[in-house]
Amino acid sequence: MRRAVIAFTAFLGGLILLLTVPAHAAAPEQSLRGTLTFQGQPVNGVKIVVTTESGQPVQEVTSNAQGTWEVPIEEPGQYKVTLDAATLPQNMAIRGGNNQRAPTVYEGNPTTVLFALQAKAADGAATPDEGGGSAFWQRAAQLTFEGFNLGLIIALAALGLSLIYGTTGLTNFAHGELVTLGALLAYLVNVPFGLHIIPAAVIAVMLAGGIGYAQDRFFWGQLRRRGTGIIAAMIVSIGVALFMRYLFLILFGGETQAYAQYNAQAGLQLGPISATPKNLISMGIELIVLIAVGFALLRTRTGKAARAVADNPALAASSGINVDRIIRIIWTGGGAIAALAGVMLGLSQNLKFTMGQELLLLIFAGVTLGGLGTAFGALIGSIIVGLFIQVSTLWIPPELKNVGALAVLILVLLFRPQGILGRRERIG
């Protein structure tokens, strides 16, 4: 056991040497942004002035060739956004006539400010705004899309957590840090070493799989052999989470960073939904990985063995399945797909040392909703959680969207504690 701890420490020490990441200037996480279009075409060169509620100037920008503009905001709160109507092309006017908006900026979220443009009427009078209902459905469609995107990321991370729980009984509070690990490893290969993000992501996923393997081989496997109880193991995982989190903070710094490629992409308009190509491609990759893992679980010998171990480890062992080998494979695979989730999260948001920690409770919510220990339950549960989080912002402020998801987690446990696909068993 002492060997195990020394090996684990040495391995994490090795990470310190690996991850000597230079710090860059911090970028605020929240911003105000918008896109100006007229009859489907972007409108270039329109001046937008952002001030605080009390009128202190923040920044002036002009819309670019894609019609988009963005102003980073330091402090969340109420702001005033004014569109300079004089800079609009001659034939256009703002629908409704009001060129000022007062949006609220929430921490960590970009806030979109809408200025709808229309053809200037001959007499200069603006026609009143109509079609508020269609705007609602358009937003709903957009949020459903975003929720699906988030749900897939949660599902990737949740799959590993749920399988590890099913096979070893460990509620791994350090699983969020595995997500962060993947994102930061990809950053390390991407930015300091200058490799393109796609090979960098592949390398990061492979490294994280190796780290998952090593974690089980040298740490969790040894603890199981010593007969550590599941509650003790849970508290140990908190120790591991704290250790890794602060290691990331020391090596990566507290600032928010971004990958070198695919930072800002022009959106595509697909019916009511606007999406960046990177979003669509990452969702495709996520879906392919999830389907591949699902197929492997259903059809391959190892997958069947994994489900057998999750069902009943003692029975699986007595029918000739090498339980330790299966658990090791699950740790390797779980670490790798958690890392993939981290890279995808890093692509769609930004990189921060707490990004996985913030996702952890949502992963738990997805896993619990689907049924702890079931692989497909984790998938369904996570996608529902993702959808719920985004779609709920139709009615509640975005900063409270996670509150809704966590409240649902509590309600699920109250009424159907085994989750959607979980087996009815005594969990009280």
């Binding site: 056991m1 701890v5 420490t9 969340p76 709160g77 609220t104 900026v105 929430y106 921490e107 509620t171 603890l223 010593r226 550590t228 109880g229 599941i230 509650i231 003790a232 849970m234 508290i235 140990v236 908190i238 120790g239 591991v240 989470a241 704290l242 250790f243 890794m244 989190r245 602060y246 290691l247 903070l249 020391i250 409770l361 738990f364 919510a365 619990t368 702890l372 402020p397 900063e399 409270l400 996670n402 509150v403 966590l406 409240a407 987690l409 509590i410 309600l411 446990l413 109250l414 504690p417 969990i427 009280g428």
Partner: protein, 328 residues
């Protein structure tokens, strides 16, 4: 390296404000986890509702200080009911997930822009401690001797804090000797056996949750009064995790375990901080800069928690047979 300051800050940490409020939080966790075997990972929420109950009552509503304390205590009891009714019938790991989720809900609501007019957003609330310092019996000046000297405000906070710790320890000591305490320990050992003896396990667990929550929430008051402010992020999940580390370090299911644990925890943190900062500034350590010293201490906390549970789960004073750690 400035040894005087390192020695003085380390000695102060042994009885300082941080030690006091973490000890109170840990005493609560000791009742939940050490005696009853409840894995409550939402302790920080109890501290938060108490601190904010006081702050909002005094600054927003404008009521006197004592009513604020009362509101904070009532809020903690209410939170215990809200947390307990859905979760206390669940297995240990589910309980852990739900309580940690509830604590996050509380924190997110306190820091939201939506309720900024009440809770003050991420800046929190300040300016509610006047009533507390108005009844300060210590005259202005410096008390104690080098290297342990405090001004009159610190003296007043520390006096109240340590009196609260003493009362809390006495309550725990007397209760755990009583038949009521034996039922709690029996629940920790085997819930079904207790149920078969005709005890209402749910009700006992709820009483334990309320008692531990109320004793723990005193830590929220102490923090708020000592710093004169409350911020949402002070009451994050890490506060709970540190308090767990303290309980396990001192020894779970021991009356003085959390107090000694808190003292040692903060002495070690402050000492490591002082030594490392000194070493970095004088150029002895070159692989780290001064901003990395802070996180490095907490990295050591994580490592310490792992090593403790692997090699000495009973902590310093605990008894291995009295641990809920191998339960389901």
């Amino acid at each position: 390296m400035n040894w005087d300051i390192i020695l003085s800050t380390t000695l102060k940490a042994a009885i300082g404000v941080e030690t006091v409020w973490y000890a109170l939080a840990a005493i609560g966790i000791n009742i939940h986890f050490g005696y009853t075997g409840l894995l409550n990972f939402g302790q920080s929420a109890f501290l938060a509702v108490a601190g904010y109950g006081l702050a909002v009552t005094v600054t927003v509503i404008g009521l006197p200080f004592w009513i604020g304390i009362g509101v904070g205590l009532v809020a903690a009891v209410l939170l215990a009911f809200l947390l307990g009714i859905p979760t206390l019938r669940l297995r240990a790991d589910y309980l852990a997930i739900v309580t940690i989720a509830a604590a996050e809900i509380v924190r997110l609501i306190f820091r939201s822009v939506e309720f900024k007019s009440v809770f003050g957003g991420s800046d929190g609330r300040r300016g509610f401690s006047q009533g507390f310092y108005e009844i300060n019996p210590y005259a202005e000046g410096t008390y104690g001797f080098w290297p342990l000297s405090f001004n009159e405000r610190e003296m007043w906070v520390l006096t109240v804090g340590w009196v609260l710790i003493a009362i809390a320890c006495l309550i725990v000591f007397l209760l755990m000797k009583s038949p009521w305490g034996r039922v709690l320990k029996a629940i920790r050992e085997d819930e079904d056996a207790v149920r078969s003896l005709g005890k209402n396990v749910f009700s006992y667990k709820m009483q334990s949750l309320i008692l531990g929550g109320v004793l723990g929430c005193l830590g929220g008051f102490v923090y708020g009064l000592a710093t004169g402010s409350v911020q949402p992020d002070i009451f994050g999940t890490e506060t709970t995790f540190f308090a767990y580390t303290i309980v396990i370090l001192g020894g779970a299911a021991r009356v003085f375990g959390p107090v000694v644990g808190a003292s040692i925890f903060w002495v070690l943190l402050v000492l490591v901080n002082g030594l490392l900062s000194g070493a970095v500034q004088s150029g002895v350590i070159t692989f780290m800069d001064i901003t990395q010293v802070g996180p490095f201490r907490f990295l050591l906390v994580g490592l310490g928690l792992i090593l403790l549970l692997v090699y000495r789960p009973q902590g310093i004073f605990g008894d291995k047979r009295e641990l809920a750690i191998n339960a389901r």
